[in-house]
Symmetry: C2
Subunit: 306 residues, 2 copies
């Protein structure tokens, strides 16, 4: 019998996943779910790829701040550019959630004011050429093969597989097909504003200083899932408090039918990072309600593709 999840250790977690997929795909079972209703949503940062020592998109932001200040030193008058030039990580760590206005400024300075196609090139080049400070491989290689394997396994079992992340939708989409084999249209995320602009015969999308509401985090995830998919997931996968509402929504909308909430725990400091900060609420509720906790240490045969 072929192993659908070869990168997963045998054990309770793997069996729970296999049992769930068997239950919803067995036409003779009461737990059967029609293919149209088999929706699976996966958070990205810390769930499909690494998010430590900080978010990959924040590394991109820092590089943009540095590159822009090199071209135009007058930008160093702005606190974000100055902090990046001085590698003052404490400055950036202090922005969220206490100074969202300044965080927005930094994001707009680095992510807006250019055509969409130009941003896509910047993001793709960064993810391909810049390296993770600890693992010394390009950022786009810092994904978790067991999770990608899980996405493919459920897709092959008739699920519609979506990424639902607080990260930038356009940023992730530049590599989602290459590293995850997930098409761009199945990647949901947060978004800067777009506006079409005309230049002669050219009619293109310009990135603007603004956010398309709602941000795809916390209570924004169920909203964006409805906007992009139109159905609630029956399988939700995430790792942090930002996924709590997606988990709650999945359980509530299942309304007694089969569902699977998967919470990835970062408990492997040797192979990756060990931290529970930012996941306290989801972990507590997972314990109370019996959601499935994936242990990176115990459940993953390997963590990275390198």
């Amino acid at each position: 019998m072929s192993d659908n999840l070869p990168s997963w250790q045998e054990g309770k977690t793997k069996q729970t996943i296999l049992d769930f997929v068997a239950a919803v795909t067995d036409e003779s079972a009461e737990s059967y779910v029609l293919p149209a209703d088999r929706v699976a949503t996966f958070d990205n940062d810390g769930n499909l790829w690494n998010e430590k020592p900080t978010y990959i998109q924040l590394f991109f932001t820092l590089k943009r701040l540095k590159d822009m200040a090199k071209s135009d030193p007058s930008l160093l008058d702005k606190p974000g550019f100055k902090a990046a030039a001085e590698d003052d990580m404490a400055y950036f760590a202090g922005l969220y959630p206490d100074n969202m206005a300044e965080l927005a400024e930094v994001m707009f300075d680095t992510h807006a004011g250019m055509p969409q196609r130009e941003f896509q090139t910047l993001a793709y080049d960064f993810l391909t050429n810049e390296k993770h400070p600890r693992f010394d491989v390009p950022f786009k290689q810092c994904y978790y093969p067991p999770m990608v394997e899980l996405m493919h396994y459920v897709r092959d079992s008739g699920f519609k597989v979506y990424i639902a992340s607080a990260g930038g939708m356009s940023f992730m989409r530049t590599v989602s097909e290459e590293i995850y084999d997930i098409p761009r249209e199945n990647v949901i995320g947060s978004n800067i504003s777009f506006e079409p602009e005309r230049e002669g015969d050219d009619y293109y999308l310009q990135r603007k200083r603004g956010i398309i509401e709602p941000m795809d985090d916390g209570p924004g995830k169920p909203v964006n899932i409805e906007l992009h998919i139109g159905r609630a997931p029956i399988l939700a996968s995430g790792n942090s408090n930002g996924d709590h509402e997606m988990f709650e929504y999945t359980e509530s909308q299942a309304d007694g039918r089969a569902f699977l909430n998967l919470l990835l725990r970062h408990d492997d400091g040797d192979r990756e990072y060990e931290y529970d900060e930012g996941a306290e609420r989801s972990q507590a509720t997972a314990g109370e309600r019996g959601w499935t906790v994936i242990s990176m240490k115990d459940d993953f045969k390997r963590v990275f593709p390198f």
Copy 2:
């Protein structure tokens, strides 16, 4: 040789469509387009289904206003409820585009203030049970089989097929799978605001008085296409000025490669309606730039499924 478009008359329009699909799917041709880039977008009102004597969703809105006022006559103090009760169509015709604030009030009064699932039931029941005033069949039967055939033909040719309409996304999605065989997640439209709400163990989406920007009309269409699909269409199909920017975007993003803009003209008063109002700008540009104009009268063997 099988006919992929049996409901279309032989002629220049049908041949243009067949030639375009052949050109982008022939791997040996310079005009070949990879499947991932084969995106087709179809406007809905007046393009996939009837929009006269007024938009189907406006009929729904009128029925809601009447039903609500029957339950609560004090609502008749509001101008929209009063106009609906008196069948004062001139009132509604005068709202757009001259009184958008009042139009928004009417839309929020009838489309917000309820859980998403409750709205879906209202919309589906209306489309299934209420009848078109001229054709005397349920509204959901007032679609154009030749256009549905076209969607299926390009989908079978490896295209990703999306609906991109100014109409309400949730409204259309209640029947898109049944009448078009287009899954909900491939229906893009305008949206009322959603917010998750908790009631005991129930965690669901409530419809709120507000609009998710941008509206999916005019310049909002390229923006929502980027948000939902992440690629520009190479085939765009519409019938009005609200599709002009989608057409422009399709042509500009093709950047010299093959693309197909299809503008449906309502020139068949016998079988449907005859009108050019609201399509003047798109028709003029189609003439200048050589976009393909579909004549309902000359190109459709049949107009409706009934």
